[in-house]
Symmetry: C2
């Protein structure tokens, strides 16, 4: 059976960059939960503390903290302390771009 040259090149490229795709999937995994994507979208509008985020998600403060830890570990958000509160904000504008990109698709 003849083997298509072009397909073979593509297969090779994917295989060689396997780690890159793992990383890419890992990134999307972060956006793949409605709580997290809501948090991220809120933070594109303004920095917020944990309790403010808790207010509009219907989940406990604990759950919010767990999610924020994931976002922080992935370097998507950063924190600063303000008295008793911890203020969360986006580390850069990539998040906004990624969300917009997905929204564009949904809008069809």
């Amino acid at each position: 059976m003849e083997k298509n040259e072009s397909i073979s090149r593509i297969q090779g490229a994917i295989t060689r960059n396997s780690e890159l795709f793992e990383e890419l999937a890992q990134l999307y995994k972060i956006f793949a939960d409605s709580s997290r994507v809501k948090i991220l979208c809120a933070l594109t509008q303004s920095e917020m503390c944990v309790s403010e985020i808790s207010e509009f998600l219907s989940i406990t403060q604990s759950a919010v903290s767990h999610q924020l830890r994931i976002l922080k570990t992935s370097n998507l958000v950063k924190t600063r302390r303000a008295g008793k509160s911890i203020i969360y904000s986006l580390t850069d504008d990539h998040v906004r771009t990624i969300i917009d990109c997905g929204m564009d698709h949904i809008a069809e």
Copy 2:
């Protein structure tokens, strides 16, 4: 305790559009697996049949079929029959845009 006007508006916007964010998370969920993202990236280069895709992923033909079904149900890919083979291709260019968007972030 004083309630920040601007934060309150953001919270409201997120809550009102809750379903939209569910949908957005659902979209990212599709990209949140390395097998699927590899398939999608391959298809940005060329249409392919199932066995060609099986070749470069280290998973069984069955697993590939299951993943392709998810992609098709989500309308990210379409199919056509060519003899014994089923040829998969992207339904539109949004997929490419979304992948590029994520890649940009990884590149830092």
